[in-house]
């Protein structure tokens, strides 16, 4: 279970507070959606969970299955099973996609005292997941995300998630930039990974994604806090009425 209590976080550079007393619990095996206006701090929350150093937590706690995440470096969190699918996946010229995937997979396996994967097994595994996600084999030969279209980058994030099999996956607007067919493919990819021992936090602006990836709980985030939580019907209501009510209330 992911358990966030009274979390406050600010931008290290300018001290601006973005997360302001946020509480959230995601029981293991559940899918929770977070919706909220632009700039409400959704991506910031995802970065804070993943351990980005640009943010400083000033108060509160974040635990995954009882373990304090805030104590850990980004790589240690990943090795404990935290995965963030980035809203804007970075292009890293010169780093081969396959080299990167293998380094990541082996780092996590080493951290869990599993041996490194053999190259043939690795290639087979990547090919399988890539073809499930409609990712062209040629893309895997390129530098990481370099020259990938917006939609291809999002698929590549899900490919990484499929390979790494995290305990907690945070998907930050993975649906934005996807065409209708890609949305279906990516959602199928996510649904294949749903399991009783894996949780998801799905950040999105569109109720449509939630038709494919059915959430257990929908949260509304505004001005750095969760201001309302409800069932899937809350997403429909937001779609209809927008955020006006929350922006004022928060």
């Amino acid at each position: 279970m992911l358990s966030i209590k009274n979390l406050y976080a600010r931008i290290e550079d300018n001290g601006q507070e973005i997360i302001k007393g946020l509480n959230l619990e995601v029981p293991t095996g559940q899918v929770h959606a977070i919706m909220g206006p632009n700039g409400s701090g959704k991506s910031t929350l995802s970065y804070v969970l993943a351990g980005k150093e640009d943010y400083e937590v000033t108060e509160g706690s974040v635990e995954l299955d009882g373990e304090d995440l805030l104590e850990l470096e980004a790589d240690e969190r990943a090795n404990k099973g935290v995965f963030l699918a980035f809203q804007y996946p970075l292009e890293i010229p010169g780093v081969g996609t396959m080299t990167f995937l293998k380094a990541a997979l082996n780092a996590q396996r080493r951290a869990r005292d599993e041996g490194e994967i053999s190259t043939p097994d690795f290639i087979k595994m990547v090919r399988q997941h890539a073809s499930d996600l409609g990712i062209d084999q040629d893309m895997l030969k390129r530098s990481l995300n370099v020259g990938f279209s917006g939609g291809e980058k999002k698929r590549a994030e899900i490919l990484q998630m499929s390979l790494l099999q995290p305990k907690l996956a945070i998907l930050d607007e993975t649906d934005s930039g996807l065409d209708i067919d890609a949305l279906k493919v990516v959602s199928d990819g996510v649904n294949r990974l749903r399991s009783p021992d894996r949780s998801f936090v799905v950040i999105t602006h569109y109720q449509r994604l939630l038709n494919y990836i059915k959430p257990d709980v929908v949260h509304v985030m505004s001005k750095g806090r969760i201001v309302r939580s409800g069932g899937p019907e809350l997403a429909l209501e937001l779609e209809k009425n927008g955020y006006a009510e929350y922006v004022e209330a928060a």
């Binding site: 993943a50 150093e53 980004a74 980035f86 970075l90 010169g94 380094a103 990541a104 790494l164």
Partner: protein, 435 residues
């Protein structure tokens, strides 16, 4: 110019004068040429007030002058043989120990057809006509590294690739040092005649507190196709002065990649002269420095012909309190119309204490040219690091991956896969040690 009163000579300067006085009678070849060359340094070594040596103050960096290396002992030859680098790479070898060509370790007797190689010592003894071609690339004779080499050198090799020869097996010139500390000089002449093609690898390695000085002169005819790869992996206590002087004929193609991984202080000078029309040259380098090491690349391209293209990419990675220097200049003479020159230098700094000095220059006298230069200097991208770490890769591994990507742009230019892999291993070894 004010003529500042020169301070008293340094220990190194005094020792050089003593050495030259003692050795000149027994050094082979043209004594006048040696005297003349030594004249350029007899008044002292260049220092930071001499523009070309501004960032590499040789006078201050060269604390002593090591004694001239004796002929190597059998044990030293064996040690050099053991320490050879890039051994997995198949090539015809010419091996030097402490500056002397070692025939027993070399493949001089079984060189590919069309390739001729004679040791400099033998060339002096037989007054080989090829000797007359030294200096044809017109590198500045009064440059301190060149002058010292001319004054003291006693061995090296002269190589001729006959016209039309496509050499299918690369040549590997291996320069090893063994012993406590000595000065060793080597001079190499490579004449590539018209329509010939060759790949030449140069490696420098060994142990000890040495001062090495190598001067490679490459004279390329027309329609030649040449690949030069250099690995400088001297001991971390060595001072390495190296000069590569190149003259290129018409419609030729040259590619060079130099990796500097070793030495306490190293300066690699490259002088390239475009003497024929429509020639393309790509000259590239990587320098890896850590601790308090100092690595300098000084580059000069002289475009004196029509329609030539030059591409330079120099990358340095710095850690500790090390320093890297890149001085690059492209000169385009008035008649060198349609010159296309692009020079880029990038420094990647892994530590607060390191310092990179990048000084690119263009000097253009022709009006119809395309020339550009750029220089960048910075740390690893924090967001890139985070992305890799967010996938479970440790900080140290993530840094290594990003540094490999940084230098990979240069390494990828090495066409021979085996050689590229061997050089990547060297880069990785530095990344592990950061020394």
């Amino acid at each position: 110019m004010n003529t500042a009163v020169r301070p008293i000579k340094t220990a190194a300067e005094n020792a050089l004068v003593e050495q030259f006085t003692a050795a000149k009678a027994r050094l082979p070849g043209n004594r006048d040429a040696r005297e003349k060359a030594f004249g350029a340094v007899v008044e002292g070594l260049p220092h930071r007030r001499v523009e070309e040596w501004k960032y590499t103050d040789l006078r201050a960096l060269m604390r002593d002058a090591k004694p001239l290396a004796d002929l190597p002992t059998d044990a030293q030859v064996a040690a050099v043989d053991r320490k050879r680098v890039l051994t997995s790479f198949d090539a015809s070898k010419i091996v030097f120990a402490n500056g002397s060509l070692i025939e027993s370790l070399s493949d001089l007797g079984k060189l590919p057809a069309g390739v001729e190689a004679v040791s400099l010592a033998k060339a002096y003894a037989s007054d080989l006509p090829l000797l007359a071609r030294f200096g044809e690339a017109e590198a500045p004779e009064d440059n301190a590294a060149i002058a010292l080499n001319t004054a003291f050198v006693s061995d090296g090799v002269l190589i001729r690739i006959a016209a039309g020869t496509k050499v299918d097996r690369p040549l590997h010139l291996a320069f090893g040092q063994d012993g406590e500390g000595h000065a060793s000089y080597a001079r190499i002449l490579i004449v590539v005649e018209d329509d010939a093609k060759v790949e030449i690898v140069e490696s420098h390695f060994g142990e000890g507190h040495h001062q090495t000085n190598s001067y490679v002169e490459l004279l390329a005819g027309d329609r030649t196709d040449i690949n030069l790869i250099k690995l400088q992996a001297e001991s971390l206590d060595t001072q390495h002065l190296a000069t590569l002087a190149i003259k290129l004929g018409a419609e030729s193609s040259l590619q060079t990649v130099a990796v500097a991984r070793g030495s306490d202080v190293a300066r690699q000078q490259v002088f390239v002269k475009f003497e024929g029309d429509n020639t393309k040259a790509s000259l590239n380098g990587i320098s890896l420095s850590g601790a308090r090491r100092h690595l300098d690349t000084t580059f000069f391209a002289d475009h004196a012909s029509y329609g030539c293209e030059s591409r330079e990419l120099f990358k340095s990675v710095l850690d500790g309190d090390s320093r890297s220097v890149f001085q690059g200049k492209i000169l385009v003479r008035q008649n060198a119309q349609k010159t296309d020159g692009r020079m880029m230098s990038r420094a990647l700094m892994l530590s607060e204490g390191s310092e990179a000095d990048l000084k690119p220059e263009l000097e253009i006298y022709a009006d119809d040219v395309q020339c550009a230069h750029g220089a960048t200097c910075g740390a690893l991208d924090e967001d890139h690091l985070f992305y890799l770490m967010a996938r479970g890769i440790s900080k140290i591994d993530a840094q290594a991956i990003l540094v490999e990507a940084f230098v990979g742009e240069v390494l990828d230019m090495v066409e021979d896969e085996g050689l590229k892999d061997a050089l990547a291993v060297v880069t990785n070894s530095w990344l592990m040690a950061r020394d």
